[in-house]
């Protein structure tokens, strides 16, 4: 694998590999907490903090964690940071803690964080891992914020709690409206990605955390890798 520049590690998470809109990870908090823009920012910032810290620590410990128990080890590290973040939010922003509710502790099982630990931090040095976590976190926050703004503006006619328009289309703050806005944003992200010339990669092994241990010898990707290793 050719070395990418550090900036690329950061920027890929924002549009090209946006965790929510392109990798479609972490949809549960995305759909659940984006009923208002301020909720979305709270969730995004909390998840980014956990993501950066856990990526850094997992990357530091990647040579000491035995391969067989790596998932429990990752989860323990992530859970530690989530507890820290939750206590901080409870202390300094109790309103956000109330509105996020159960979804704040549920960051522990957020696919994005475990996915980045498995796909990136477990294989790369510290600095790229931190930047990767930061980029993914910014992408996650941006996607949440976009959804939160659209849903709050159309659903309750306000933005960050300030009443702007008298129109209220209730369905946008209900789950069906959430799915609808989510689909529209995925469509826009796909359009942006395909417009820039490169086709979005759709090989099934790309980004699959099991790709290294994959036993399917007929798979083209495995064959290619095998020949590369032989060289």
């Amino acid at each position: 694998m050719a070395k990418k520049s550090l900036f690329k590690e950061f920027s890929k998470g924002i549009i090209k590999e946006n965790p929510v809109l392109c990798l479609v990870l972490g949809t549960c908090p995305t759909l659940a907490v984006t009923t208002s823009a301020s909720n979305a920012i709270g969730m995004g910032v909390a998840a980014t903090a956990v993501l950066v810290c856990s990526n850094a620590v997992i990357s530091l410990l990647r040579k000491f964690i035995p391969d067989k128990v790596r998932i429990p080890a990752y989860i323990t590290i992530i859970a530690g940071f989530v507890s820290v973040v939750q206590m901080l939010v409870k202390a300094f922003a109790p309103a956000i803690n109330d509105s996020l509710g159960i979804y704040l502790p549920l960051i522990v099982v957020n696919c994005i964080i475990l996915g980045r630990a498995e796909m990136f931090a477990g294989k790369n040095p510290v600095l790229p891992s931190i930047l990767d976590g930061l980029g993914m976190g910014v992408g996650f926050t941006a996607a949440l914020l976009a959804m939160g703004i659209i849903r709050e503006l159309l659903g309750s006619g306000s933005l960050f709690g300030v009443q702007l328009i008298p129109l209220q289309i209730l369905i946008f703050i209900l789950p069906p409206g959430g799915f609808f806005v989510f689909g529209m944003l995925i469509m826009i992200a796909n359009k942006l990605n395909t417009r820039s010339g490169k086709k979005v990669k759709t090989t099934p092994c790309d980004g699959c955390p099991m790709a290294d241990n994959c036993v399917d010898k007929n798979c083209d990707n495995v064959k290619k890798e095998a020949t590369e290793n032989a060289d």
Binding site: I169, L170, I171, L174, P176
Partner: protein, 316 residues
């Protein structure tokens, strides 16, 4: 010599049915209900119908244009969708809300899934439900119909729908001729039945779905202890059974599939009416069964001619 032989591919035998003719028949069948709504609720219902039809046709044209597809206004399906949506709305609804409903029906439900024949649920029905969920206040505000009994009126201008009214408020005659509150197209049962008979005579719809739907609904109301005839005549049941559930795209093609589909609609309608906190369940039950149609069709694939059932344990 070459011109004497005419070579063409199948089908060699065509019927005169075109989408346009079928849609025209549906429009004709909806006319009694539309006229009745104008008589019962006045000129405002005519305005509502005109707004919905115009918006639907315009949106259909614009969205086909944007997606660079061929123009399909000519098949009249957008007019049917607009008319059906209008008949499902209360008369004093804000025209902007009605136009938002048209946007949902035509752009989101119909064109985003590929246009006529591709939609997975009935566009007018989906739009009605989106409006009901989005604007519960205006969508449940029923204007008093011409000549409705005084007891039904909560104040001078509004009336409860027969489903939410006190028992005994409306007689069967009131329900038949539409002297009650409700969406503009659903109140007059006679006009809807007339339209349904016309569609069956013209062979546009098969009578299986409406008949089984109504029969199941009557049976279910008996089981849960409601007055069957009152349930059949009130609310949107007739409009739903005759015009919504029979939509070609979103109902099964097989005979037994139709029966299962209609049974499901009837059961869910009465269950929702009896036990949910909403007075009406027709639109939700038809929408639910619309989504199940592919599975129903897979279950009821008819046996091909000459097919012999394999003996048990006989592999290949």
């Amino acid at each position: 010599m070459e011109n004497m032989l005419r070579v063409s591919s199948s089908p060699h035998f065509r019927s005169n049915d075109t989408t346009r003719r079928i849609m025209l028949d549906v429009i004709i069948a909806l006319c009694p209900a539309a006229v009745a709504s104008c008589v019962i609720f006045g000129w405002r219902s005519l305005v509502l119908i005109a707004v919905c039809i115009a918006t639907c046709v315009l949106l259909e044209y614009v969205s086909r244009k944007i997606m660079k597809r061929d123009n399909t206004i000519g098949d009249l399906s957008a007019i049917v969708t607009g008319l059906l949506l209008a008949l499902n709305l209360p008369v004093d609804i804000n025209p902007l809300i009605a136009m938002f409903g048209c946007l949902i029906a035509i752009v989101v439900v119909k064109q985003m899934f590929g246009g006529i024949g591709m939609n997975f649920v009935n566009p007018a029905l989906a739009a009605r439900i989106v409006l009901l969920v989005s604007f519960p206040g205006p969508m449940m505000h029923w204007v008093k119909a011409l000549g409705a009994p005084k007891a039904a009126a909560i104040d001078a201008t509004t009336a409860a729908t027969p489903l939410a009214a006190e028992p005994g408020t409306y007689s069967y005659i009131d329900l038949l001729i539409g002297r009650c509150g409700g969406s503009i197209g659903e109140v007059c049962a006679i006009a809807l039945i007339l339209g349904g008979i016309y569609l069956v005579i013209r062979k546009v719809i098969s009578p299986i779905i409406p008949c089984v739907y109504l029969a199941t609904a009557a049976l279910m109301s008996l089981i849960v202890g409601l007055d069957p005839l009152y349930q059949l005549l009130s609310g949107g049941l007739l409009l739903g059974a005759i015009f919504m559930a029979t939509d070609y795209t979103t109902s099964p093609v097989t005979k037994w599939g139709k029966v299962i589909f209609a049974c499901g609609c009837g059961i869910f309608t009465i269950l929702l009416r009896a036990y949910s906190n909403m007075p009406e369940g027709v639109s939700f039950s038809i929408l639910l069964m619309n989504i199940l149609v592919p599975h129903i069709e897979r279950l009821t694939v008819p046996r091909t001619l000459g097919y012999v059932k394999k003996a048990k344990g006989d592999k290949k």
